[in-house]
């Protein structure tokens, strides 16, 4: 089943979360994914979000969302208190992505992580031919005002997983909002979604 209204990476996640699961959505925004999971899969979803206006919007739609920040506030959650911890398009904004990754797999049995791929050919071209930090559809901010302080490529991410002994249970790649093959993903995919387990 697909969830067409959702952002493409969220739709991938929504399609692979087991029905009735307990889910923590970290960086849940206004709760779009949580609401979809609740409605279509009967998921017990909780959220963590840094922006108060987003928290207010999510609470106003009846979701349980706590204002907080992935770097500081994940420590408050007990071990394995969720079936899935979800971190969508947030890893690259954290101060210590490797520690956040560890926290995800401490809190959740499994973790979904999605991020924009900094090795996509457009990004490479921008640096190689333009000599400028890339401003793309998925990375629309300029270098000085971007929240993305830890850019990551698909191969970098795989290397980090290997280093930390994390198992990949699934990986999906997106290009122009559509799923694309794993072949040459580090060059061709704008976006990656990983399902992880320790």
């Amino acid at each position: 089943m697909t969830s067409p209204a959702l952002r493409p990476d969220l739709a991938v996640i929504a399609d692979h979360v087991a029905a009735g699961a307990r889910v923590l959505d970290i960086g849940c925004g206004d709760g779009a994914l949580m609401a979809a999971l609740r409605e279509t899969r009967g998921v017990d979803a909780r959220g963590l979000e840094i922006d108060p206006a987003n928290v207010a919007a999510a609470v106003a739609r009846g979701l349980s969302v706590v204002q907080g920040d992935a770097d500081a506030d994940l420590a408050a959650y007990p071990d394995k208190s969720f079936d899935y911890a979800i971190l969508s398009q947030t890893l690259q904004t954290t101060r210590a992505p490797h520690r956040v990754l560890d926290e995800l797999l401490r809190i959740g049995e499994r973790a979904f992580v999605s991020f924009p791929n900094f090795a996509h050919w457009r990004v490479r071209a921008s640096l190689l031919w333009g000599g400028r930090m890339p401003v793309t559809r998925l990375l629309p901010e300029r270098w000085y005002d971007t929240p993305n302080i830890h850019h990551v490529t698909i191969d970098d991410f795989r290397a980090l997983l290997k280093e930390r002994g994390i198992t990949v249970e699934g990986a999906w790649f997106l290009r122009r909002g559509r799923r694309t093959s794993a072949a040459a993903a580090n060059f061709r995919a704008e976006h990656a979604v990983f399902l992880l387990r320790r």
């Binding site: 108060p52 928290v55 207010a56 609470v59 106003a60 204002q67 907080g68 007990p78």
Partner: protein, 370 residues
């Protein structure tokens, strides 16, 4: 017409109410108001818990000051706490002076006002008295319990004390325990009351001279804690009160002095000094973790209630970290919790002021329970 419901209600319940101190109280008088109509299944009741010096007049004019209800922007038809959909109940807390049993009530043993013979009460005792009122009203289970400041303490205490009687709790600008600083400010207020020669060990009711000067000072000190420094600066700065220059005396030269003096004096018209002592004591004794073996999370293990916490960034009386500590305990207990820190220049008092963000969060949270 069921006379149990409506404005300005009073009921005398036989009790006895067993208090945390070990004492018992009987009878128990409770002054309260209700708004809206109880659904046939009794399932639409919301209890609002008031703060230290507030009362049951949440959305009706105060009988002494004539001012509108203290949460008129929040409670009413079509408001976030919607009296078209809910039966809203607000009761004067135990120990207060607006009609519920307190130190000014007659002591059945002597026929004279209790004064200091009134037993010391706790936040949990207030909640137990409210539960007795709900029994009287035929409300078994609350759709929600809501409160700010000391009302938030009651809203936290409710699901901890009666885990199956509450579906949701909204806790605004509050804390699960009083800090040393909170206790310190209250002690200043109590000492101001007790230093007033008119206090007479609390036995002043028949003298015609209550310790108004002491109570006014207590209120002045407390009032500062309800505002932010930036708010005070913006409102008053160093502006002088109705004069061109300093007088080199001790009159209220500054506007902020004049304002505080007015707040202090106005307070003594509507509040009993002994009630102020008893209620501040109840707040100082509040430590929800201590009541549950030192683990705050244990307070929430029995309940299925949903929680919503709201703090304000300029509130230094019950700062955001106190709300966060509650949220962490709720996570540890696996309870569904929402939390948001709202921005306001008004300090602790922000919870009483009209705030579109707060309205949105509370309205959404309450609707989600349907």
């Amino acid at each position: 017409m069921d006379t149990r419901f409506g404005l300005d209600r009073r009921v005398t319940l036989p009790g006895p109410l067993e208090l945390d101190s070990g004492a018992t109280l009987a009878p128990v008088e409770i002054a309260y108001e209700t708004y809206g109509t109880l659904a046939p299944d009794g399932g639409n009741a919301i209890l609002i818990c008031h703060a230290l010096t507030m009362d049951q007049h949440v959305a009706s004019p105060h009988p002494i000051t004539g001012k509108p209800g203290w949460w008129i922007d929040m409670v009413g038809p079509g408001r976030p706490i919607d009296t078209d959909r809910h039966l809203v109940i607000c009761a004067n807390v135990l120990g207060s002076c607006m009609g519920s049993s307190g130190p000014a009530s007659p002591d059945p043993a002597t026929g004279r006002p209790y004064g200091m013979a009134f037993p010391v009460i706790t936040i949990r005792d207030m909640v137990r008295a409210q539960a007795m009122l709900l029994d009287h009203l035929g409300v078994g289970r609350l759709k929600a319990v809501i409160g700010g400041s000391m009302g938030g303490m009651q809203a936290l205490s409710w699901p901890a004390t009666f885990p199956s009687r509450v579906e949701a709790a909204v806790v605004i600008a509050s804390t699960a325990r009083h800090s040393a600083q909170n206790i310190a400010f209250h002690e200043v207020g109590r000492q101001a009351v007790m230093a007033d020669p008119n206090w007479r060990e609390g036995d002043y009711y028949e003298s015609g001279n209550p310790p108004a000067a002491g109570l006014a000072v207590a209120r002045m000190a407390a009032h500062i804690t309800y505002l932010s420094e930036a708010g005070l600066t913006e409102k008053f700065g160093r502006k002088l009160q109705g004069r061109e220059a300093k007088t080199f005396g001790f009159d209220a030269d500054f506007q902020v002095e004049s304002y505080l003096r007015h707040q202090g004096l106005a307070f003594t018209d509507r509040f009993d000094a002994n009630a102020y002592l008893y209620i501040t004591r109840a707040m100082d004794y509040f430590d929800l973790a201590e009541e549950h073996g030192g683990m705050l999370a244990n307070a929430f293990r029995e309940t299925k209630a949903r929680f919503c916490l709201i703090s304000f960034d300029t509130d230094w009386l019950y700062p955001t970290r106190e709300s966060r500590a509650v949220v962490q305990a709720l996570h540890a207990a696996g309870a569904p919790a929402s939390f948001v820190e709202l921005s306001s220049p008004y300090g602790h008092d922000a919870f009483l002021l009209d705030s579109p963000e707060m309205n949105r969060v509370i309205a959404g949270f309450l609707r989600a329970g349907n």
